[in-house]
C-alpha cells in the first residue's frame, strides 16, 4: 500500500500511545455487556499497530481490511443474533473503533478515531447513568482530549505523561460552561428513539406469576426503587409495596386482568374517602420498561401522568423507560371496596374447574369448622404455621399436573409465591373472594439520608381477601410460615441455608456484616440518591421550575436572554484572562490618538500598512496628498515626541497631548484644505 507520507501529516508516537490508551479506557465500561472476542480484537489491533510503528509488520492491505470488517459484522451477528438493537450496535461501533487503529496512518485518520472516541464516551450512558460512570467518563474525556492535544505536538517521539497537563487545564476551564449548559440548555425530546429493549431483559416483577418466578428474582441485588418519606418511616412489616394484582388463575399461572376483560362499569378507579393517618412519600423508580408503579395501599398521587386503577394501584400510561420520580399520599387504614360488585365477586372467586382437588377438599374441610370467613382465614394461616412447611429460596420444582396438591401435601418447601398461590386457591375454593398481590416487601433503611432502598430481592407476593364489612384485607401467608421474612427481611429469613445472593459473590450487600463496607455502601447509595434526584432527574419540568424560582415567569425571550447572559458571564472572565495576558500595559493615550489620526487618513483613502512606521507613513501621505503633508508632518512629529522621545506621563506630556488632540481636529479639508491650514 503506498501512502504519501509528509512529515507534518504523520502521527507522533506520543499521540499514538494516548489514542490506544484512551481506546482501552473507553472499552472498559462496556466490558460487562460485550462478548469476550471484542477485548481480543482490541488487544490484537493495539499490538499490530505498535508493531507497525516499530516497522516490524506493515499495515494490512485492502482485502485484509475488508475481510476484518466482514468478520466483525459476522461476529456481532453470531453473538447477539441480530445487528439491530442497542447492544449489537454498540458492539459493532466498538469493534469498528478498534479496527480503525489499523488504518491509523495520517493525522486525518487520527481525527476520525479521536472524534469517534468522544462519541463512544457518550454511548456508555445509554445503559446506565450511574454516578461512578459519570466520574469515569470525565476521566476518559480527559484521555481522548489528551490524544487530541498530543496529535498537535509534532515530533514527540517519547510517551509523555505530562501531556495531560494542558487538556486537564482546558477541561477545567470548560467546567463552568458545562454547568451553565447543564442547567440552561433546553431539554429537547429525542427526534428518534433506538430500541432500548435488549435481549437481556431487565429483572423485575412481571405481570404474571407462576411458582419459582419470585424466588429467581431474589437472586438479584439491583435496586428497584428508593423511597423518601416526608415523616417517619413506618415499621418494615408495614411496607408492602403493591405493584400488581393477580385476579386470574389460568393454567397454573396467576395473571392480572386484561383491560378488555373489564366491563365498562369497572374501568373507573373508585375514589374512596381516606381515613386514618396519612403517609406522604416520593418514589424514585429506576427504569422497568413496564407500566405499573409501586405504592403502599390506598395510594393517590397528585402528579400528572400517574393514574389509579380499579384495584387501587398506581400506573403510568407510558412505559417507564427512564428513571421516574412520583410523589404519593397513602392512607393505609382506609377500607378498600366495602361493597363488592357481582362481576368483581365472580372474578375473584373464579377457579379453573376440577384442578388441585385435594387442596379444595382441605379448604372446604377447614371452612366447615370455622364460624366466619375471618375465622377461616386465621385457621388456614394456623394450618400453615402448624404443619411442617419450610420457607426457602430453593423450593422443590413442582412438576405434577396439580402443582398445589403436590406443594401442600408432598414437598411443603416454598417461597412466598407458593404460599400466596396456595392460600388464595384455598380461599377461593371455600367461597371467599381472594387474589394474589405482587410487589416488594420491606426495604433497607439508609440512615444517612433517611431513604428506604428497595432491592429486587425484596420482591414478594402476598394475598388479599375480601371480608364482609372490612373490604379487601391483606393477608401474608409467608408471615405465618416465616415471620422473620417480614420482620427482618429475606437475608435473615434464609440465613440458615446460605442461599442469599448465592450467585453474586461480589455484591457488597453480602458483606453487610462488615461494618465499614456497609457504611461505604450506604454512603454511596445516599450519593446515588442525590445524583439520581438532582442530575439524572433534571428534566424540562425541573428546569422550568428552577428558572421560575430564580427569575419569575419565564417566557421564550427571557429564556434566550438568560442562556446568552450566563454563557457570556462564564466566558468573559476566561476571555479576559486570555487576552489580558497579551496586553502588557494599558493602551498609551498617544498611541490611541495616533490611531485616530490613521483612521481619519484612511477615510481619505490613505491607509497605513500594518508594518509602516509613522515617519514612513507621513512621507507617503505627503507624497500622495501634498495638501495634507504639512499637517501630517506636524502631527507625526508631535506624536513621535510623545510616544518615543519622552518618558512617562508628566505635565509637559499632558500639555503636548492636549496640543496633539487639538491638532487632530484641524485636519485640512478635502479640496481647498491647503490654504485653510490652521496652526495648532
Amino acid at each position: 500500500m503506498s501512502v504519501p507520507f509528509g512529515a507534518a501529516s504523520l502521527i507522533p508516537r506520543n499521540a499514538l500511545v494516548w489514542i490506544i490508551l484512551s481506546q482501552f479506557a473507553l472499552l472498559l465500561p462496556h466490558l460487562g455487556r460485550l462478548p469476550v472476542w471484542v477485548v481480543l480484537v482490541y488487544l490484537l489491533t493495539a499490538v499490530w499497530r505498535l508493531l507497525v510503528y516499530q516497522g516490524r509488520v506493515s499495515f494490512p492491505g485492502r482485502w485484509v481490511r475488508i475481510a476484518l470488517i466482514g468478520a466483525g459484522f459476522a461476529a456481532v451477528f453470531f453473538s447477539y443474533g441480530n445487528l439491530l438493537g442497542l447492544e449489537p450496535t454498540v458492539a459493532l461501533l466498538l469493534t469498528a473503533f478498534a479496527l480503525k487503529l489499523l488504518e491509523l496512518i495520517r493525522r486525518k485518520d487520527a481525527y476520525v478515531v479521536i472524534f469517534l472516541g468522544y462519541f463512544i464516551c457518550v454511548t456508555a450512558f445509554l445503559f446506565t447513568q450511574d454516578l461512578l460512570l459519570v466520574l469515569y467518563s470525565l476521566f476518559t474525556l480527559l484521555l481522548v482530549t489528551t490524544a487530541l492535544v498530543a496529535l498537535h505536538r509534532p515530533g514527540e517521539h517519547r510517551f509523555r505523561v505530562d501531556t495531560l497537563r494542558l487538556p486537564a487545564l482546558m477541561l477545567a476551564q470548560a467546567f463552568p460552561l458545562m454547568l451553565v449548559l447543564f442547567f440552561l440548555f433546553p431539554r429537547i425530546g429525542p427526534l428518534w428513539t433506538v430500541p432500548v429493549q435488549s435481549h437481556a431483559a431487565r429483572t423485575g416483577v412481571s405481570d404474571f406469576m407462576k411458582p419459582g418466578d419470585v424466588s429467581s428474582l431474589s437472586q438479584s441485588d439491583e435496586v428497584a426503587f428508593r423511597v423518601r418519606f416526608a415523616g417517619d418511616i413506618p415499621p418494615r412489616s408495614e411496607l408492602y409495596w403493591r405493584g400488581l394484582v393477580f385476579s386470574v388463575l389460568d393454567a397454573g399461572t396467576w395473571r392480572s386482568l386484561r383491560y378488555h376483560e373489564l366491563p365498562a362499569a369497572e374501568l373507573r378507579a373508585p375514589r374512596l374517602e381516606p381515613s386514618g393517618p396519612e403517609l406522604s412519600y416520593s418514589v424514585l423508580m429506576l427504569p422497568t420498561q413496564q407500566n405499573w408503579l409501586y405504592s403502599l395501599r390506598y395510594a393517590r398521587s397528585p402528579q400528572s401522568g400517574v393514574l389509579a386503577t380499579p384495584d387501587f394501584r398506581l400506573y403510568s400510561p407510558v412505559e417507564v423507560e427512564d428513571q421516574l420520580r412520583y410523589s404519593v399520599n397513602s392512607w393505609p387504614e382506609t377500607p378498600l371496596e366495602t361493597e363488592l360488585s357481582d362481576w368483581r365477586r365472580r372474578t375473584e372467586l373464579a377457579l379453573p374447574p376440577a384442578s388441585n382437588p385435594r387442596s379444595r377438599e382441605l379448604a372446604l374441610g377447614i371452612r366447615a369448622e370455622s364460624p366466619t370467613d375471618a375465622a377461616f382465614v386465621d385457621a388456614v394461616l394456623a394450618y400453615f404455621n402448624r404443619e411442617n412447611f419450610v420457607y426457602t429460596l430453593q423450593p422443590t420444582l413442582l412438576s405434577a399436573p396439580e402443582p398445589m396438591d403436590q406443594f401442600l401435601f408432598e414437598t411443603r418447601r416454598g417461597f412466598c409465591e407458593h404460599y400466596a398461590f396456595a392460600f388464595t386457591l384455598m380461599m377461593r375454593a371455600a367461597g371467599v373472594p381472594a387474589r394474589v398481590v405482587a410487589g416488594y416487601q420491606g426495604g433497607e433503611i439508609n440512615p444517612l439520608n433517611r431513604t428506604v432502598i428497595v432491592h429486587q430481592f425484596d420482591a414478594h407476593a402476598w394475598a388479599e381477601v375480601w371480608l364482609e364489612g372490612r373490604g379487601w384485607v391483606r393477608v401474608d401467608p409467608t408471615a405465618a410460615v416465616s415471620p422473620e421474612r417480614i420482620e427482618l427481611g429475606l437475608e435473615q429469613a434464609v440465613a440458615g441455608e446460605g442461599s442469599f445472593l448465592a450467585n453474586s459473590p461480589l455484591s457488597p450487600l453480602r458483606y453487610r456484616g462488615v461494618n465499614w463496607v456497609n457504611m461505604l455502601r450506604l454512603r454511596y447509595d445516599a450519593w446515588t440518591y442525590r445524583w439520581q434526584s438532582w442530575v439524572v432527574g433534571f428534566n424540562s419540568d425541573q428546569q422550568y421550575r428552577l428558572l421560575q424560582d430564580l427569575f419569575g415567569t419565564v417566557r421564550a425571550r427571557t429564556f434566550v436572554i438568560i442562556v446568552l447572559a450566563s454563557g457570556a458571564l462564564v466566558l468573559l472572565p476566561v476571555a479576559w484572562l486570555l487576552l489580558g495576558r497579551h496586553r502588557r500595559r494599558p493602551p498609551d493615550p498617544a498611541e490611541r490618538l495616533y490611531l485616530a489620526f490613521c483612521a481619519r487618513l484612511a477615510r481619505r483613502g490613505l491607509t497605513r500598512g500594518r508594518g509602516e512606521g509613522p515617519r514612513d507613513f507621513c512621507r507617503r501621505v505627503a507624497g500622495t496628498d501634498p495638501a495634507l503633508g504639512q499637517w501630517a508632518e506636524e502631527f507625526t512629529a508631535g506624536f513621535e515626541e510623545l510616544a518615543y522621545a519622552s518618558s512617562g506621563a508628566n505635565d509637559g506630556a499632558r500639555a503636548q497631548l492636549k496640543g496633539l488632540r487639538r491638532l487632530l481636529q484641524q485636519m485640512p479639508g478635502r479640496a481647498a484644505g491647503a490654504s485653510r491650514l490652521v496652526r495648532g
Binding site: 498611541e591 490613521c598 500594518r610 508594518g611 512606521g613 515617519r615 518615543y644
Partner: protein, 309 residues
C-alpha cells in the same frame, strides 16, 4: 552634530571606492559602531573585500586580511610559539588575528575547526595559545565574508556560530549608473592602502559607545520590539523564533542607528532599518514556509503593527 558629520563623511569616503552602496555602508558602520562583528555574504566580485578594507581605513584602525582555505589551521590565524636558538627559549609569533580589523575572507571555505577557533576569539575578545591567554587589541572587529552556502567546497557556518555575527549584509549588484561610473573611474576596482582619509578619531570612536547608551527607548518602542519578537516565536512560518540575544542585538543596533542619524531617541523606523541585517540570519523558516530568511523578515515587518492595538 559633530559625530553625525563625521559619520556622513566616512560614508562618503567609502563611497568613493564602493560606488552606489551607501545603504550597506551605513549598516556596516552601524554594526561596527555597535561593537559587533559583520558577516558579508555575496557572490565573488561584488566588493566585499573592498568594503571591509575601506571601513578599516576610514575608522583609522589597523587591518589584516586572511584568505581562508580548506587547509588553513587555527595556528595560522592565532599565532605560534617558535623556539629561538639564540636565547634558548620559545618566543610567540602573533598571528594575523592580533589586529583591530580582521577580514576573514571566504570564511566558509575553511574547516569547522579553524572556523571555531576564530569564532571563539570573536566571542571572548582574547585568545588562549599554549595555556597563555593573550588579549586582542581594542577595538576588535571581524569582518567575515562568505559565498552563498550552496556553492561547492564550502563548510556552511552552523546557526549557533552565525549568531556570533551581529549583522549579515548582502551587497547585491550595483545599479547601472554606479556600475558605469565604475567603468569610467581610473582605479577600476584597484584599491590601495592609505588611499582613504581617516574620518573618526579614536576619541570619537570610544565616545560613541557612551552616547549610544544614552539614546532613549520609550515604552511604545519596547512594545513594538516585543510584538516583533513574539511574532517570530508564535507564527508557524518560523521554525525558531528570535532569541533574547537576537532581540537585544536588534535594540542595540536600533540605538546606534538612531544616534548615527542624530536622534536622542529610537523610532520604529530605526528598528525596521536594522531588522533585516540583524534578524535575517537568525531566523529559520519552518518546513511549511517556502521563503528564506529575507522573506521571513519581510513577512515579520509586514505583519506586526508598529502602533499597538
Amino acid at each position: 552634530m559633530e559625530i553625525q558629520g563625521a559619520i556622513d563623511s566616512a560614508v562618503a569616503e567609502v563611497g568613493t571606492v564602493l560606488l552606489g552602496k551607501e545603504a550597506q555602508v551605513r549598516l556596516a558602520l552601524c554594526c561596527l559602531l555597535s561593537r559587533g562583528h559583520l558577516l558579508i555574504e555575496d557572490l565573488p566580485g561584488m566588493g566585499k573585500t573592498t568594503l571591509s578594507h575601506a571601513l578599516a581605513e576610514v575608522l583609522g584602525l589597523s587591518y589584516k586580511r586572511v584568505q581562508f582555505t580548506s587547509d588553513l589551521l587555527p595556528a595560522d590565524i592565532l599565532g605560534v610559539s617558535v623556539y629561538d636558538r639564540t636565547d634558548a627559549s620559545f618566543s610567540f609569533h602573533p598571528g594575523p588575528i592580533f589586529t583591530q580589523v580582521l577580514l576573514a575572507d571566504e570564511i566558509n571555505r575553511t574547516t569547522p575547526r579553524t572556523q571555531s577557533a576564530l569564532l571563539e576569539a570573536m566571542a571572548e575578545g582574547q585568545v588562549t595559545i599554549e595555556g597563555e591567554t593573550r588579549p586582542l587589541p581594542e577595538p576588535f572587529f571581524v569582518i567575515a565574508t562568505q559565498n552563498p552556502i550552496d556553492q561547492s567546497g564550502t563548510y556552511p557556518l552552523p546557526e549557533s556560530q552565525l549568531d556570533r555575527f551581529l549583522m549579515r549584509l548582502q551587497l547585491g549588484y550595483p545599479d547601472p549608473q554606479a556600475e558605469r561610473q565604475m567603468f569610467l573611474s581610473k582605479h577600476s576596482g584597484q584599491f590601495r592602502s592609505g588611499a582613504l582619509r581617516r574620518c573618526l578619531s579614536p576619541q570619537q570612536l570610544t565616545g560613541f559607545r557612551d552616547a549610544v547608551t544614552r539614546v532613549h527607548v520609550a515604552d511604545s518602542l519596547l512594545d513594538y520590539l516585543q510584538r516583533l519578537v513574539a511574532f517570530t516565536r508564535q507564527s508557524r512560518e518560523f521554525a525558531v523564533g528570535l532569541s533574547p540575544r537576537g532581540a537585544l542585538a536588534l535594540l542595540d543596533c536600533a540605538r546606534t542607528w538612531a544616534h548615527m542619524n542624530g536622534r536622542a531617541h529610537v523610532v520604529p523606523e530605526d528598528l525596521q532599518a536594522v531588522l533585516a541585517p540583524v534578524a535575517g540570519h537568525r531566523l529559520i523558516p519552518s518546513g511549511d514556509y517556502a521563503g528564506d530568511g529575507q522573506a521571513l523578515v519581510d513577512l515579520l515587518q509586514r505583519s506586526v503593527d508598529v502602533i499597538g492595538r
